[in-house]
Symmetry: C2
Subunit: 324 residues, 2 copies
């Protein structure tokens, strides 16, 4: 079995050996910049782990799953324009370093480069691989739309929020697992189970991400507590709190989440107090655990010897912060 | 054989019967708006004509070639943001009617909707269809990059300009013809000949378009003479003139093409006089005719009875203004 490190290395090599047309150097400079900026390569690595469950030969899967990384980075480049984000992975975003126009066009070409990689799946399974990918790609766009709509909504239900993160984040993780499984020779039943494993894991991952922003260990996660609160981000914690809040609490919460606060630490403290009154930390943990249990119960049903699953389980646990 | 009108009708029906997810209505409103705004459906129609050369059954080709129309409209939505164009087909552009962010995201989802249609090509030829499409899609991005680069360049050669329009416009027409041929059951040789037919036709079409803006019959083409000159657009006429100009003529031309002119009619007249001194009209006509001849010589070599080619020839002639 391949380790996470070996697979990350294989993906990094595939990404850095991509060839670019020599015309229009300016088009590909941002592509090289973004793909070279690192990142954890989660999607292709989990895909290769899913592949490795079913097959010891994963070489032919590396190029197709590199397409998942390119697609993911395409969404980051365009999302960063839409969100007016200035920094990504400690470097200026493409639209800041070049221009919004350049970020649109270089993003576009990445979408077609992703297609190109995915098309390298072996002929008999190429259609299944590509359909799985493309369905997720459409859903990721829908997820980003819901996210933009939410920014302008006053009230979002927990259900709406979960659907948004499912589409924006989780379906691509599900598709990555399914694509890897198909590339490893899995039958439809096992491929579908791995999709559900990845989708549920993705939802849990996103809920945990919201939780750790406020309650995580600062040293481990490298972020100051409450960054989401300071930037008025509507997280699972916030929407859950709004669902449970009394009239007074609800008004206070909405008041705190509107406009820019001159005292960020005070704002975080005030919101945290409200959250604590409502038991939001515990509720969020329970929600994450619900999706983690679902995720692993789908994995349990995959028809593969348990010892083959060790790397994938370890990887999944690291994603949801369980290794600490 | 199907007529142009019948094929346009088939394409329009395929486009208007596309189904959209019910979530995220805002994402698809601009898609419906753009695809419903008409247009000549050139790419899918020429694809179906190429298909019809080889097969009397074209039904299975309609949905895949509708993907070419969706892709083309995706490029228009994003190009209009980059070019800051306010109007397209007599209606506000998507980024004007909604917002740049909405135009980015709704454009993105169109790219994946195009994939989805093209994926409906029958299994044995799907990979060939999709590769032909995706290669063109990457090239169209490169063409748009060259176009943006040219906007900021002082001097562009005729050769550079031809390469730009080849990538930005002609390769998609070539790919459309090739995809149609494959869907009709053509062998590789005939499919490649149809690609070259479409590519050369596309270059001729774009050169003619530049020519007609200044020298066309205003009643027939519905545009005022010289709109490209008024907006300082670097057309084939302009780059060819710069190639041939003396030092004085060159300076005058560059002077006229910089900044906004308070007297548009006077500017058009002055540029036209310079063009006339250099015989630009005739040179441009010769260049267009060169590509038209190439185009038809590739078509001549396609192994299909001449009477089956009549509709396609008529269509091609209409594109390059020969029917007038």
């Amino acid at each position: 079995m391949y380790t996470r490190e070996q697979l990350t290395d294989l993906v990094n090599r595939a990404v850095s050996s991509l060839s670019f047309p020599e015309e229009a150097v300016k088009l590909f400079e941002p592509v090289i910049y973004v793909l070279g900026a690192g990142g954890k390569r989660l999607r292709p690595v989990i895909a290769l782990m899913a592949c490795n469950l079913f097959s010891d030969r994963i070489d032919d899967a590396v190029k197709p799953v590199a397409g998942l990384e390119i697609f993911h980075n395409f969404t980051l480049v365009h999302d960063d324009i839409m969100d007016q984000a200035n920094v990504r992975r400690n470097s200026p975003t493409v639209h800041k370093k070049w221009s919004p126009n350049q970020a649109i066009l270089s993003g576009d070409v990445m979408a077609f480069m992703a297609n190109e990689c995915l098309l390298e799946a072996p002929a008999p399974i190429a259609a299944d691989v590509f359909r799985t990918f493309n369905k997720a790609a459409v859903e990721v766009c829908i997820g980003q739309q819901l996210d933009m709509d939410f920014e302008r909504s006053l009230v979002i239900s927990g259900e709406d929020y979960l659907r948004m993160i499912e589409l924006k984040t989780a379906v691509l993780l599900g598709a990555s697992c399914r694509i890897g499984a198909i590339l490893g020779g899995a039958d439809k039943k096992n491929a579908d189970l791995l999709y559900e494993f990845g989708r549920n894991l993705g939802i849990a991952f996103q809920i945990q991400d919201d939780l750790l922003d406020l309650y995580g260990d600062e040293k481990l996660f490298g972020k100051a507590h409450g960054g989401d609160i300071v930037s008025n981000k509507k997280t699972f914690l916030y929407v859950k709190a709004l669902e449970l809040a009394s009239g007074t609490q609800s008004r206070r919460l909405q008041e705190l989440f509107s406009g820019v606060e001159s005292d960020p630490a005070g704002k975080v403290k005030a919101v945290k107090e409200l959250f604590d009154q409502m038991g939001i930390r515990q509720l969020t943990l329970e929600a994450a655990n619900h999706y983690i249990s679902s995720s692993f119960s789908f994995l349990d049903r995959v028809g593969v010897r348990k010892d083959r699953m060790e790397e994938l389980i370890r990887f999944a646990e690291s994603l949801i912060g369980r290794e600490h």
